[in-house]
């Protein structure tokens, strides 16, 4: 296939580009975005993506709330977020234009499909007049107006497609065009089309034709005044794949289970944006994964607790309201001291809130949202690929300390993608698990002197018959016990055990100078935006550093000391300052909370600006 080499003299080299595809839910924007991602990944770019689709399954065609977007940043450098304002906006209809234009960079490339700008389209998007008629548009942006509908219909002519079928191919036409502009080869997508439509030759042909037609339009017409290349990034050597947060969690869980040689039992109830974890895990049947779609979230977690009792690795996952529903059973897992991993893919709240949007507002609930003194370790993943590592870590904690563990991710991580370097098998450390089998002197609530974990004794083991449950139990024997001092002791032991997990953390790392004026402290998915901001600040010579906490509870023992090395601590969070609150109460230091609760992630620029303001 034709594919311009970056050395082509007419091609300008860029460090990176941010594209946003936006169209109607039916326009296939997610698909288009994913194809551009795969192609760029294969080309060696570093990447980050941010899909943003409507809550409705199929919103009415052309409506404002039915707009589906996919933002993608591809770069020749190491990047951490899908970018702030896009350089390029592809708007397939008026609604997409209206919802997305405000984000486009001044002077950015704006490609508009004029084929969908008739009166009724404009009305659905609540435009009084055709915005394309506004001369300011062409003045403010590099405007490319094209009737992609017409072009597509022509491209696939003769294949016997209905008009409607033909129009379905227009996203490939747009994609082909952008491949030309950014000097990407068509192969990856061609292969994909081959595979996907192999059984339906007519559609296979049509999509291929549309893709190539788009490319040709770029090449032959004089629509585009420039052509660009983004050379490969200097990524660490290794095998890479693209990964999103949810499948990374699923893979991490399976890897964790393999490392501790326990079968996974995943008991859950579908909920956006956590359902995909179930979907991925339910395909791993040949890894011995049991998935159980329960009648509700309570049954999901309770079945996982039951499975853990039998010696399986009980896992449950959910979002938003589903997490609230699990509160009671989390208490049971704490009291029975069984291993359990609970994945919470946070979404916009409170209540049903914004189901398809991202947020980090379940932190305090994770730490304290249960009746009684009910300590549970909490950790968070910081990027889509990191979800894999965080999941393994959660498994390790759960089985080593015989405790439920809450793993926080969020909608942004769940659906965002990045190239991810596959770990070498040797890098993965085994997680030793020893089931108790000796009936001699067996005591269900005796403890390991180091971890304070109680022994794990499976039903089916002769001589180890014992009873557990949610009532307070006697130290060592585990018999039900209402003695006041025993209760105090057990509350203390459960707390000590969880707080002791901090002994197993690696030292807290700081990116940037070891001490200075401002430390940007973050957790979870803000990692990329903070890193982007701190990189730029450091480039500008500012005395700024980043510290990103994986372990939210218990906090790392050296964190207080790290914080005190900086004059100010800035905490950007997609909530109203929850980590800030924990930090204040733990270390009694003033921090600068930077809350953002918009259902969308921080941009690096926002954080950089705030850092600059802080520096005065």
């Amino acid at each position: 296939m034709t594919s311009a080499a970056p050395s082509d003299p007419s091609v300008e080299t860029l460090e990176e580009v941010v594209i946003r595809f936006a169209g109607d839910s039916g326009d296939g924007m997610q698909l288009t975005g994913n194809q551009f991602t795969s192609t760029s990944a294969a080309l060696g770019n570093d990447l980050a993506t941010f899909p943003d689709y409507p809550a409705e399954i199929r919103a009415p065609a052309g409506s404002l709330f039915g707009v589906s977007g996919f933002q993608l940043r591809f770069s020749s450098k190491d990047i951490h977020t899908p970018g702030d304002a896009p350089d390029v906006l592809v708007a397939m209809n008026p609604a997409a234009l209206k919802m997305n234009l405000p984000d486009l960079k001044p002077g950015g490339l704006l490609i508009v499909n004029t084929g969908n700008f008739n009166k009724s389209d404009l009305k659905k998007a609540k435009y009084d007049a055709n915005p394309l008629d506004d001369e300011a548009l062409a003045a403010d942006y590099t405007l490319v107006k094209l009737d992609l509908n017409e072009a597509t219909v022509q491209a696939v002519e003769g294949l016997g497609l209905t008009n409607k079928e033909a129009l379905r191919c227009k996203n490939f036409l747009a994609l082909g065009m952008l491949y030309w502009v950014y000097s990407r080869p068509l192969e990856t997508t061609e292969k994909w089309i081959d595979k996907k439509f192999g059984a339906k030759p007519k559609f296979r042909e049509a999509n291929l034709k549309a893709l190539r037609a788009g490319h040709t339009i770029g090449e032959n017409s004089e629509i585009f005044q420039a052509r660009f290349a983004v050379p490969p990034a200097k990524l660490e050597a290794g095998t890479y794949r693209n990964i999103m947060g949810n499948p990374a969690v699923a893979m991490g869980l399976v890897a964790g289970s393999s490392l501790c040689e326990l079968p996974i039992f995943y008991g859950t109830y579908p909920i956006t944006p956590a359902s995909d974890i179930l979907h991925y895990l339910s395909r791993y049947k040949n890894h011995g994964v049991i998935t159980f779609q329960a009648e509700d979230e309570i049954a999901g977690i309770c079945s996982a607790i039951g499975a853990s009792f039998t010696g399986a690795l009980g896992v449950t996952g959910t979002s938003g309201p589903g997490m609230a529903l699990k509160s009671e059973a989390l208490g049971l897992a704490v009291m029975t001291e069984l291993p359990l991993v609970v994945v919470n893919v946070q979404r916009g709240g409170p209540s049903t809130g914004l189901p398809t949007k991202t947020e980090q507002a379940d932190l305090l609930q994770s730490i304290w949202g249960r009746n009684g003194e009910c300590p549970i370790p909490v950790l968070a993943a910081q990027s889509p690929g990191d979800c894999f590592w965080a999941a393994i870590e959660a498994v390790r904690m759960a089985v080593t300390y015989m405790t439920p563990v809450i793993l926080l991710t969020d909608g942004y991580l769940a659906n965002g993608a990045e190239p991810w370097k596959l770990p070498k098998l040797e890098e993965l450390e085994r997680i030793p698990v020893r089931f108790h089998t000796d009936p001699e002197n067996y005591q269900p609530f005796s403890r390991d002197p180091v971890t304070l974990a109680r022994p794990w004794a499976k039903p089916g083991t002769p001589g180890l018959e014992h009873r557990i449950g949610g009532l307070e139990k006697r130290d060592v024997t585990g018999n039900v016990d209402y003695d006041p001092l025993n209760h105090e002791k057990m509350v203390g032991l459960r707390e000590q055990k969880v707080m002791g997990i901090a002994d197993s953390y690696p030292a807290t790392e700081v990116y940037g100078p070891e001490r200075g004026k401002v430390l940007v402290l973050g957790w979870g998915s803000t990692y990329g935006a903070i890193r982007g901001a701190v990189e730029r600040a450091l480039d500008a010579g500012l005395p700024v550093a980043q510290c990103h906490v994986r372990n939210l509870w218990p906090l790392p023992k050296d964190l207080g000391e790290v914080l005190k090395r900086f004059d100010q601590v800035l905490i950007p969070e997609m909530n109203r300052g929850q980590l800030a609150r924990v930090i204040r109460s733990e270390y009694l230091i003033e921090v600068e909370s930077f809350p953002k609760v918009q259902g969308r992630p921080f941009t690096a620029v926002e954080i950089l600006e705030r850092v600059k303001t802080l520096l005065g």
Binding site: A299, A312, L422, L425, R467
Partner: protein
């Protein structure tokens, strides 16, 4: 359950070292006793028994049986038990629950467990009252019941647990009573033998908060006339001398001479006769049905689930860490 050699046990082998803490005279004692005796007879290795309960007087049961036990949280025993059974189908799982635990807060889990048809057993201790929380009416209390939470009488229609079980698609539905030990043990054995979900309602006397709630059915002097013990393939006869019969008509069930009695089927195409007879009013013409109301074979959830895992593993090969990581499109950077 596969047991290599049938172990031989005595009841005492299933008595734990915990003091039993029910009220003196509580019907739970008799049930505990019957269950312990039954466990000893089943030929299942002791370490394979798991008793799972929710919260309630009845739900303290696991502490007293020397088996693996899980005294979980209110209403959730079927969910916990589902995880246990699915994760290890080799265990013999017994859910012990009360009318509040199973039918009030836990109603949803139990109907779902019944529909899924896991091979486990539920013993519902129905005393028609919340014992542990001191005597409020339950979803099986008769209407107009005066309790601390209904001082002027309750206005709630009760559930018929058998009807609910049938409506949920349970494959084994039976009823017995605390005071009739031989009958109870027979039903427990049948429940164990059934491959699928066995729902056993056990009428149980709460001496403190609902004493003699079942006297009108179970009192020795009248019980032969107020109960009919349904047995598959046997005529529907009752009375001290089996001198009374029941006949099934298209629209109803009526009394008849024993010679004319219909033959009881537990496996009718839709369980409709069980549905009809279970609603025979406790003060009505027709006696209250005991024994096995329904028993049919249907695929067992955890069996199918594990078969699917096996089949997939055969098709795709055993998953390894390596092929987990290498799945999907990858590329090299060097």
């Amino acid at each position: 359950m596969t047991t290599v050699e049938a172990p031989s046990y005595k009841k005492a082998d299933f008595v734990s070292d915990q003091e039993v803490r029910w009220c003196p005279g509580c019907g739970d004692y008799a049930i505990l006793n019957a269950v312990q005796q039954t466990f000893a007879k089943l030929g299942v290795s002791k370490e394979k028994f798991v008793c799972v309960s929710g919260i309630g007087c009845s739900s303290r049961f696991p502490y007293y049986a020397d088996t693996f036990g899980f005294h979980s949280i209110h209403g959730r025993a079927p969910a916990v038990a589902t995880g246990i059974k699915v994760a290890n189908p080799d265990l013999s799982v017994w859910i012990i629950t009360g009318d509040g635990d199973a039918l009030s807060i836990g109603g949803n889990h139990i109907i779902h467990a019944m529909r899924r048809n896991l091979d486990m057993n539920v013993l519902l201790f129905n005393n028609r009252i919340y014992g542990l929380t001191k005597g409020q009416y339950s979803p099986t209390s008769e209407i107009n019941k005066k309790t601390p939470s209904s001082p002027f009488g309750s206005v709630d229609q009760p559930f018929n647990p058998i009807a609910l079980a049938l409506g949920s698609g349970a494959t084994f539905v039976a009823r017995s009573v605390d005071t009739q030990a031989a009958h109870l043990k027979g039903v427990l054995e049948a429940a164990h033998a059934h491959k699928g979900f066995s729902f056993v309602e056990i009428l149980q006397n709460c001496v403190i908060y609902n004493n003699k709630a079942f006297e009108h059915i179970t009192d020795k002097t009248i019980r032969h006339d107020r109960q009919v013990d349904l047995q598959a393939g046997k005529p529907m006869v009752y009375g001290k001398d089996l001198d009374k019969g029941l006949k099934i008509l298209p629209d109803s069930i009526i009394n008849c001479p024993p010679e004319e009695a219909s033959t009881w089927r537990t496996d009718g195409p839709a369980g409709a006769n069980a549905f009809r007879i279970c609603q025979a009013s406790e003060s009505g013409e027709i006696p209250v049905p005991f024994g096995i109301l329904r028993q049919v074979n249907r695929p067992v959830f955890e069996t199918d689930l594990h078969l699917q895992i096996q089949a997939t593993t055969q098709n795709l090969g055993q998953g390894t860490l390596e092929n987990l990581l290498m799945e999907g499109e990858t590329w090299q950077v060097s």
